[in-house]
Amino acid sequence: MEESRIYLRNSASGELVEASLLDEVTDRHLELWNESWQPAMQAHVAAHGLKARPEDHHWNWNWKAGEWRPMLGYHSFAIICEGELQGLMMVSDLKSALLPAQFGKPIVFVEYLATAPWNRPEIQLPPRYRGVGTVMVAAAVDLSWELGYRGRIGLHSLPRAEAFYRNSCQMTALGKDAAHQGLMYFEMTEKHAEEFRFNH
């Protein structure tokens, strides 16, 4: 497992805070998910009702990690800041691009990406830290470079995250995918990956 130093922004103070990006979700990360992340999600739903359920409330990271950790084609990432879990991501490297300019070329596909509930403005105001999603997308782009995929990545976005991928990540939307619950499918080209890494 490799650990990289990254920075998140403390929403209240506006200051950058040192954090760690780990290129493997460990049992300890899953314990943190069970102990703090999952209860915070449940507490939010209990207080605000089913309509306030976060779009990823049903994602079970214990199951995801257990199934994918032994597989060479799957990679998991975790962000830890001040001893607490701030984000989780699972990606695969077995899928091909659909965008005509890079059709058929391999991409790193972001299967699941989530920031901790206390970092989401719809759950906590102000959110604790900002920047988790950007760090994770940058990690996916870096992995794509490492594998020789030249930064190409793809993903299906949950509705509330579409603006982030479209505007902040400059990814190209290819339309809603009927085969994946009608979720919007996005890809990042080599050129946009370079720009994204330059800017982040």
Partner: protein, 72 residues
Amino acid sequence: MAEHEKRTMTLNLTAREMAVLEELAAKKDLNKTGVMRLALRLLQAVDAKLQMGQKLMFEDEKTKEKSEMVLL
């Protein structure tokens, strides 16, 4: 870290296999090592699914006709 260290091996291929490898490398925009590593990851993923009792199917986008790929 140990798990990121690379190990080297010699791979003997027939001329035909090498031609296919080179063709795939060009098509996938990868070097030959990248293609072989991708093939390994893919085979492991498919094998895991088959071990779980799942099938590998291909679907024709136009006709929706499905065919099963049987692997050893």
